[in-house]
């Protein structure tokens, strides 16, 4: 049997509480399978029938980012958290830096709002045919491809000491996207707009170089590398604007 201790909350404004569950072990089991078992049969360790635990998930392949939660204190995806690798009892909690909706479900829309602020897209004339796209050297593609694997899961924000409900820092994941778009030959044409946006309150200057983000990223995105390069670009951009060269 697997022993789970789950931090629960019935709705956004209600008080959190914990409940313990015992779940039978299956082969190659992950945390999602355990939660599915609870959904099927929501009986606590003490034999009490309770409401099933609610959580977010979709792909179960660590691609969509939905099932991110704190597992034994660490922010990660529930689907790729294999029970065999976890110390028991397994503690499941919602992410702490985002508003809790119910049980393990949190609202991460803040991250998508940040992408709007940073103009995280390539401005093209339209999706119609204008012929072949621009060439891009392979090494440049390989440098930024990892950034485009970001699944907006929120791990990097959860672990960042400078990101919190009270701080206005938008966090590493959205910022790194700027490097992706500035590297693309067409996206580069709107580079100035994005760098300008990075200088706004809560932008890149709020990074404190704790570098937890790069340790916690499940996709091994070189976040600190992107932050470093963007620091350089923002500085040069600011100085060149100031001195008008």
């Amino acid at each position: 049997m697997i022993h789970l201790i789950i931090k629960r909350q019935d709705s956004p404004d209600s008080k959190p509480y914990t409940q313990e569950f015992l779940v039978p072990v299956t082969k190659n089991m992950n945390v999602v399978t355990a939660l599915m078992e609870i959904k099927k049969n929501p009986v606590t360790k003490d034999g009490q029938m309770v409401n099933p635990v609610a959580w977010d998930c979709n792909c179960l392949e660590e691609v969509c980012g939905a099932c991110t939660m704190r597992i034994n204190g660490k922010a990660r995806q529930a689907c790729s958290a294999l029970i065999a690798d976890l110390e028991q009892p397994i503690r499941l909690e919602p992410l702490t830096k985002f508003p809790v909706m119910r049980d393990l479900i949190v609202d991460r829309s803040k991250m998508f709002e940040a992408l709007k602020r940073l103009k995280a897209w390539v401005e093209i004339d339209g999706s119609f045919d204008v012929g072949r796209g621009p060439r891009l050297p392979r090494h440049k593609q390989e440098e930024v491809y990892p950034i485009s694997k970001c699944m907006t899961c929120g791990c990097c924000l959860e672990v960042c000491p400078n990101f919190s409900k009270d701080s206005d820092f938008i966090g590493p994941a959205p910022i790194a996207q700027v490097k992706l778009f500035n590297t693309h030959p067409i996206g580069n044409m709107q580079k100035a707009d994005r760098l300008e946006a990075l200088k706004d309150k809560g932008g890149i200057a709020s990074c404190g170089n704790a570098q937890n983000c790069v340790e916690a990223c499940p996709k091994q995105i070189p976040l600190t590398d992107a932050l470093g390069k963007l620091n350089r670009e923002v500085n040069i951009f600011t100085l060149s604007r100031f001195f008008d060269f």
């Binding site: 082969k27 409401n51 979709n58 392949e61 999706s127 119609f128 067409i186």
Partner: protein, 583 residues
Amino acid sequence: MKIIVVGGGAAGLMASLRIAEMKQEVELFSLVPVKRSHTGCAQGGINGALNTKGENDSTEQHFIDTVFGGDFLANQPPVKAMCEAAPKIIYALDRMGMMFTRTQEGLLDLRPFGGTKHRRTAFSSATTGQQLLNTLDEQVRRYEVQGLVKKREGWEFLSAILDDNGYCRGIVAQNILTMEIEAFQADAVILATGGLGMIYGRSTNGMTSTGTAASIVYQQGAYFANGEFIQIHPTALPGEDKRRLMSESARGDGGRIWTYRDGQPWYFLEEWYPAYGNLVPRDVAARAIFKVCNELGYKINGEDVVYLDLTHLDPKELDRKLGGIIEIYEKFIGEDPRKIPMRIFPSMHYSMGGLWTDYNHMTNIPGLFAAGECDYMYHGANRLGGNSLMSATYSGMVAGPNAVNFVNGLSERRYLKESTIEEYKQKEIEAFRKITKMDGSENPHVIHREMGDFMTEHVTIERYNDKLKETDNKLMDLEERWSRIKLNDNSKYANQNAMFIRNLKDMMKLARVITVGALARNESRGSHYKPDFPNRDDENWLKTTKAQYTPDGPVLSYEEVDTSLLAPRERRYDVNVNKKEGK
């Protein structure tokens, strides 16, 4: 004018983008934040005859491969249009910033894929779907900022609203957190709600791929076409919670399938299909693996698996081109596929069938369009790898403007009664209220598991009429048991089990469409294989199945397939008969 798009995967986003480009308003509904849609799980690539490998590829050859791969069941004009648009779409995606893998001179690289002799699949390592999804998400966000697109993420589609003339004029949807049920008006509605893998319990699909939106409009009178054609992907990882896809690109980039026979590796695909080898289409590969494990009895350590072997390939190239799936295998299985061959088995993967639409992607309900995996248009009886991202993107690209044109073409301003809207809304509120009061003895998850197991056992690779009949009976039995379900969650907030119970009923309705369609079709074509009827029967069965809902079950009718561009011929992959005419 306002168009509602339901679904935020490749098709829904592309449709939204196109409508916004026409300066029309879009309200985009999605169960999940659109960036978490199931399109993200597509791995291998997106097909388009860019012809940048000096192989004399052409959109015509792409068309031939697709029709041939689909065993001639697809209507040919739309397939041709898609193949012609494909290179332009790929270039547009490139301009949008999609991070395609590059050649040494900075062009889009192309990889070999199943069912074709040309390199035609553009890709982003092994995460092409994710990159495509991200790119379209970014473009739509741009229009969101401009105010043309309004996103409603975390809403579940409950019903289409039809006016007195039977035109679709809006939807009823439920907020999956607050549980609030609301009606939304629009001039036209596009469903882009993806696949139905959850009907099979465990598949390569995500948890949101339940097919319920398609099932709901089917129950409202839309035809569901070719439901019996379910793609079984040959290479997936068995798992308790789901089957995880191991991309076809693994074979495209040199991976080989084998198992032990008499203590020696046996490369059965290469032996049986010398012309295409490991790159036979998915239906052929899946049947072969199934045969090896079940009929011939070659198992590995007693398990129904065969090897997908990458160990002979350069590890650096593997990381560059297949990093995404290698990571998945390492994380979930804990072995290094660069050193140890992967153990895989076929799994339910994709539905070729879907809502019947005309060539403009409109269903038989005027004003209701369908695009992406939830339509039936491009793949016939079997889909080629790399064509799903293309068909999803292309169909969204076509459906969006067609919806706008449809509304523009209406002769007079239509009137939708307030009472009609309220009626639809109240009906859903009442239905949900009933679910929250369900207090029987059955567990919805147990019923779901039974349905999934039955469907997987009897309505996948090999289909026998007696078993199909049994499955249909089972489904009716499960439906009856459904009414005796107990809801074990009395929460007023984010009540996931209540929503699941509602989904389950709709999944059952669609499961019957699949099963009954398969039962009726006494031939073997593409993914639909009946050992008792092993041959394709063009005389009787070169026709599209159209299922119509009745309370007593699906009623089937048939429609002729438009084969005006390429005459049907025998489909073989042991020799290469699949070439452009006159060559």
